[in-house]
Structures are given as structure tokens and as C-alpha cells.
Point group: C2
Chain length 430, copies 2
């Protein structure tokens, strides 16, 4: 029987919303948001969309009106009662009441601030300005909207049947990747694919595939909404925006050199155990570790997110040894441009020395490469970053010069302050 | 919204019927049924299930109670008003009123006769006895039931997710086959896969895939129900059971030698054009053509269903030439164990000399090879044949000794009468 009411309801939709919940975002955003809410609430920041893949002409592919509708829809969202209950009542990383009452009260009343959208040639300029805790929550939904609208521009021209075969192929591919990883002993892998996913439904499918195929080796998802609805662990710690903004707020070179450690000092007060994960590459891993205070060596692990992951992992292991720490008690989380082969290689290289985890992103939730003509569904490198804090431009160096951002003179200054020399460039795919 | 009524309706089902319509059968069965109804109505026949793949222990895989439920359900079926309307009102092979009023009246009142089912070791003995026009209609649904119950015995143990990936893989495979054939010029191909299909829904999907992927090169389906619901051509002419039963009814060797031509003489009176397709291999193609009356050379084409298809096609072309016919006006329909490679090879070999068509069966509608452990969904060779006519055993020789059936002494007699010498054995996969 046809469910007439559902049919009628469906054709009343003005749009098919891409983001339907404020917690359809990465868990680390909420952790960072609470930290910022506590420590830097009044900071004014600007976040900006940056399409590193200039060959993808977003403004030609995506109708501006549709983009505005999707972004406006996100601005209409607020935390639902069930979402709030989940955030307040759930255990995250083994801890109850991760989110404190004052933060939750603020979050429950939050609407995302306005956006600024302008077409510039074949690209969009999309920026968000305001108080840091509000503006930062735009990053993930904005990326998800752009990724999915770009996908829809291709899917809209396909027949019902072609679509079915497209998804059959994509499902087969994901499942074969998962089957390929089943024999990795003590695998520990999570979904980190929200921001560049093909779509929400697809990410949700991939997460269920991971759970079904990998069982306990699948540790959870970075996506809070999916973690909630699928009753999985929400995964994530912190990201580059914290040291980037802290650094931009520094008044002197000495304060600048200290800024990344200030971030982790604030974090240290708030979190313990598996949430004490160092992200060392914002201004170069080597210098960060060399100059790090000893209490940081006591942290649980390191996340490797740029550069050659083998070098980064070896640097971390050497650093722990030099500080008298036993690497076998530590954890390294790889999260940069992973796919099955790289996961297998890194696991087999390091699993005997440290605890190894993987945060698998784009090539889990958006591997539609070669599935349509001209590869028009291939993932591409889109980011949304803090570019200014209290009027001062931010800088990111990372361990890959192709991922560096900021004004040239500021990059030079940061390189000097953080003692970053020659870097090896790595291709940025996603 | 949940459609509560549908959910409740679904859990009222006692069984999930495999065959839900009397016209969920091959079109040629109905054409032959009308011919038999007209010419041999009172003939008593026995049809019997024959599992040529002894390594598939049907009685271990399929519960006898479930099998009986499915067969009993088929006995409860009768032609629906819409089905009757379609048979009476539709154009088949360009002809209106293909099915005459007296036949339709009989068909509208038909219920299938009883079956006899007995477990013999790991196999089932399943036979149908009665008047030919009724009993013959058991063949296709009986095969479809056994094929699908065997499949369900595997699918029942799979998780919801594994099932989804299984079908994603199978869909991808079918679609890749179809894409592979798109560049064949003047391709003409039909679905002949009812009897050994994976399931009705799957066959229906494959048919839609063919239509979507091949457009006009896909000429239709042998399945009447799918032809009706998808508004496609119903395809098919005649099969071995006609000469087999006619031959068994022969009183003398002279009558036996004449029997296959009597079949086509009856057919000649009834049909013209693309329905005048010779199936010459029942008792050996070579002898059949050598001794054929000249009026048969005027028929539209030949169906090649056993033996080496290249030899059979060349034999037919030589025969037409010898009888003064122009092969380029003739049609050869290949229908034995086809898959894409064989289709491409036969097409490229013969398309310049004759009109070539393909009746693609099992490897279209049941190619689940290697998709589950131990290949337990691989298609296998199951047939349901007329084994007796008015108490006399039937014989089939075909152009492949591995497909021969009947008592040894009768086979020897038929070989003598039809002048069949040494034959080359071909592996029977499906």
C-alpha cells in the first residue's frame, strides 16, 4: 500500500535539507567549543571557505539560491530536546557530564550566526564572522553542504536506475575495503568523514557497514548525530583551530612561541585519558615536540595529520623515549588522507611499538572516484578555516607546505619563531 | 511515517509466495499450450524434475514442508481478470488475438493439477501427471520455486547488511555485463531467464536494467507477468517438449522419423513470421535439417540450444544455402548457456551473414557466482521435462550427449532412426 500521508508530506518540502541537526557535526567541535566557551568566549573570529581544488568550479556547479537555502536552513536549526538529553546524559570517553550545565544552556539557545556569501569567478567566497564559540560551529555543516550540493549537481542528471547502480558500486567498494581490513589484528579505527562526506545518508550507511564488518575494531564515529542514532561512541579530541587562534592572539614572539602549549594547558585542566591527544603539527611537529614542556610527554598520545606519517610517528616515538616515556603505553592516531593500503602499512609498521588508531575520513565516506564520467564525483580538497582572530590573520604551517595558510610575511615569521626549516611537500588529495 | 496497515498485512502472511501468478511463466509455454490444447488435448503426460547437478543436495537444503507450501500456493492460483485482459487484448509478435477465445476460456478456469513429491536420499522426486495442456504449465513455476528455495536456504542465514552488499555486488555485476554489450551494433537480445532465476524480484530488476542499459537492443522478456507489468514484448516460440511428446506417441519407426516435422507442420498452420523458428536439436540438428521438407527452409529462423553453437549456426547457414534460401534474410537465435563473452563472440562471427538474436537465461537472472562462501548461490542445472506420454517414455538427444535423456534402449533406437552418430560432449553449467 502507498503511504499517502508520507507522499503528500514529501512533496510539501521546499528543500531537501542536507544538514538537519546542529549535532550533525564532529564531536571534537563540541569539545573545542566548550573549551573556547570557557576560555576565550569573547574572541572575534572569521572562518572562511577555502577550495584547494581550483579545478572544481563550485560556483558553476552549485546554484547560489540553493546554497543559500541550505545555509539558511542550518541557521533555523536549534538543539532538539533529545539531542540535548543525549549530550547531557551520555558517557563520552568514559566520562559522565562531559558537557557542563552552563555550556549546555548556552548551546540549547544557540542559533548559528549569519554568513557572508559572494560569487568570485567560478568560486564562492563564504565567510562567517562573530564570536568564536558560535562561528566555529559553522565549519562542518558548511563543508558538508558544499560537498553534497556539488554531488547533487551530478546526481540530478542521472536516471533512477543509474543511481541505483552507482550506489551499488559504491557500497561494494566500501564493503570490500572493510573486508580487506578484517584480518588486521587489534585494529582500532573510527569514522572521521563528516566534513567531506558524499551525504548524510551515505555516511550513516558507511558507519553501519563499519560496525557490521569490523565489530569491536570499529571504535565509533566523529559524527555526533550518527553516534546518537546508532548508539555508537562519539570520537574526537581537538584540532588546529585552537593553536591557530591562540597564536594569532599572541602579542609578542615569545607569546606566540608559547601559544600552542597554552592551548594544551587549558585542555589539560579539562580532560584526561584518551582525550589527552596532542595535535603537534600546526606549526611543525619537530619544533613543537622539542620545545614541549615535560608534562605534555605524559599525555596519552599524538594525532598525525600532515606530512609523511612514518616520519611523524617515528619523531613522536623518539620524543617519548627521550622524555623517559614508554611508547608501548602511548597511542598514535593517524588521520590524514587514509585509505586501506596506507592503514595496513602504518599498522604493520607501528603496531608492535605503540597503540595505533585510525581516523578514516574522506575515502571512507566519499569514495565515488571513477564511478561517473569525467570523475565528477571524486572528492576534492575543501576546507573551512579560522582566518582571523580579533582582526589578526591566522597562520597554519603543518608538516606539509601544501597545507600551509596565512599571509606570506606571517608564515615567514611563524617559521622563524617555531624553528621550521625545509619541509617536504606532499600532494593533498582530500 | 510507518505504513502500519502494510506492516500488519505483511506479518499476516503465512508464506512469502515465490510464484504469485499463473502467467509468471515463459511465453512459449502459453503458445505451446494453445497448440497442444488444439492438437493433442487428451494426451496424458508425466513431467519430472531432474537435477543434473547432483552435488546440490536439494532435499537437504530445502524443507519439504516449505516446498509443499509453495507448490500448494501455485495450485491455488488462477488467471486474474487483468492477466486475462492482457492475454486477450495485447499484440504478440505483431498479432492481435494470438490466444483464441476457446483457449482463453479454458485457461481462465484452469487450476494446476496435483503434484507428487517424495524425498529420495538428498534429492526430491517431483512429478506431475495428467493432461498435457495442464501438466506442462507446471514446468516453469516448479523450477522457479526450487531455484528460489535453494537460494533462500543460503540467504536466510545472512544479516540484513550482508544481504544489501550481496545485492549491490550482483547488481554491479549485471550492470557491468550490460555496459559491456552497449557497443555491439544491431544487438538483439531478450531475457530468457525465468526458470532458473534467483527470484522474481531479481528477474524483474534485471529486465529493467536491460531496458535501461540497452534500449531498443533489448527486445523483451520471456516472462509474461514481467512483460505485462513492465509493458515489454513477450518473447518465445516453442521448445523440446513438443517433438519429445509427439515422438513418444509415434507407433512405428517411420512415424517416429516424421514426428518432429509433424510438430512444425501443426505450428506452421498456426503461426507465421518471427514465430516460425525451428528448434532442430531435439534428436540431432544435422539429421533433422538433412531430412527436413522444403517448406521448413522457408521458415524465418532457427534456435540453437545445445552443442557447439558455431557448428550449429554454420550447419543452419549451409542448409539454407543448399535449399536455395538467402541466409541474410534468416534469423539465428542463440539460447544455450550464454554470457557476455559468448554473446560477443557469436555476434561478431555471424552478424554479417544472418540476423542474430540472443535469449539470455541463467547468467542474466541468476549470476550470483562466487558471491557467497563455498559458492552456494551458484546457479545449477535443474530441469523439469516430459518423461512419459501416454505411458511411453520420452527421449531427448540434443546436440550434446550430456543433455540426452530417456531409457538407454530408446536412446539407441532414436539415434538409429534419426541417424545420429558420434556427438561431442559439452559441459552443462546451467
Amino acid at each position: 500500500m502507498v503511504d499517502i500521508a508520507t507522499r503528500v508530506w514529501n512533496h510539501k518540502w521546499k528543500i531537501d535539507p542536507i544538514v538537519r541537526s546542529l549535532i550533525d557535526t564532529d564531536f571534537y567541535k563540541l569539545l573545542m567549543c566548550q573549551s573556547v566557551f570557557r576560555n576565550k568566549r569573547g574572541t572575534r573570529v572569521t572562518f572562511s571557505l577555502i577550495n584547494r581544488s581550483k579545478h572544481v568550479p563550485l560556483a558553476k556547479l552549485i546554484d547560489e539560491g540553493e546554497l543559500r537555502e541550505q545555509l539558511d536552513h542550518i541557521r533555523s536549526l536549534s538543539l532538539s530536546r533529545g539531542e540535548s538529553t543525549w549530550l547531557r546524559g551520555n558517557t563520552f570517553y568514559g566520562k559522565r557530564q562531559m558537557f557542563r550545565p552552563d555550556f549546555m544552556e548556552w548551546f540549547e539557545n544557540l542559533r548559528l550566526p549569519p554568513y557572508h556569501l559572494e560569487r568570485k569567478g567560478d568560486q564562492y567566497e563564504l565567510t562567517f564572522e562573530g564570536n568564536w564559540p558560535e562561528v566555529m560551529l559553522w565549519e562542518i555543516p558548511a563543508l558538508a553542504v558544499l560537498m553534497e550540493l556539488r554531488g547533487r549537481s551530478v546526481l540530478n542528471r542521472m536516471g533512477k536506475f543509474e543511481l541505483q547502480v552507482l550506489y551499488a558500486r559504491a557500497m561494494t567498494r566500501v564493503w570490500e575495503k572493510i573486508e580487506n581490513m578484517r584480518d588486521i589484528p587489534n585494529l582500532s579505527i573510527a569514522d572521521f568523514g563528516t566534513r567531506r562526506r558524499h551525504s548524510y545518508l551515505w555516511q550513516d550507511w558507511c558507519v553501519q557497514a563499519m560496525r557490521e564488518g569490523l565489530g569491536g575494531a570499529f571504535t565509533g564515529t566523529s559524527n555526533c548525530k550518527i553516534a546518537m542514532t546508532r548508539e555508537l561512541e562519539a570520537i574526537g579530541t581537538n584540532a588546529h583551530e585552537l593553536p591557530m587562534v591562540y597564536a594569532a592572539l599572541a602579542k609578542t614572539d615569545a607569546e606566540l612561541a608559547q601559544a600552542p602549549y597554552d592551548v594544551l594547558s587549558d585542555w589539560h585542566e579539562e580532560h584526561e585519558g584518551n582525550l589527552r591527544i596532542i595535535l603537534p603539527d600546526t606549526f611543525g611537529t619537530k619544533g613543537f615536540l622539542d620545545n614541549a614542556p615535560d608534562w605534555l610527554a605524559g599525555w596519552t598520545g599524538i594525532r598525525v595529520d600532515s606530512g609523511d606519517p612514518v616520519i611523524a610517528a617515528e619523531t613522536a616515538i623518539d620524543w617519548w623515549k627521550a622524555r623517559g616515556e614508554d611508547p608501548s603505553t602511548k597511542r598514535i592516531i593517524f588521520s590524514d588522507g587514509l585509505d586501506v593500503e596506507k592503514i595496513r602499512a602504518l599498522h604493520s609498521r607501528f603496531a608492535s611499538q605503540v597503540n595505533v588508531s585510525f581516523g578514516w575520513g574522506t575515502l571512507l565516506t566519499n569514495d565515488f572516484r571513477k564511478l561517473v564520467p569525467d570523475d565528477k564525483l571524486a572528492p576534492f580538497s575543501l576546507v573551512c578555516k579560522a582566518v582571523k582572530a580579533n582582526g589578526v590573520p591566522t597562520v597554519k604551517l603543518s608538516d606539509n607546505p601544501n597545507k600551509a595558510m596565512g599571509p606570506a610575511d606571517e608564515i615567514a615569521r611563524y617559521k622563524r619563531v617555531f624553528g621550521v626549516g625545509e619541509q617536504v611537500a606532499q600532494e593533498v588529495i582530500v
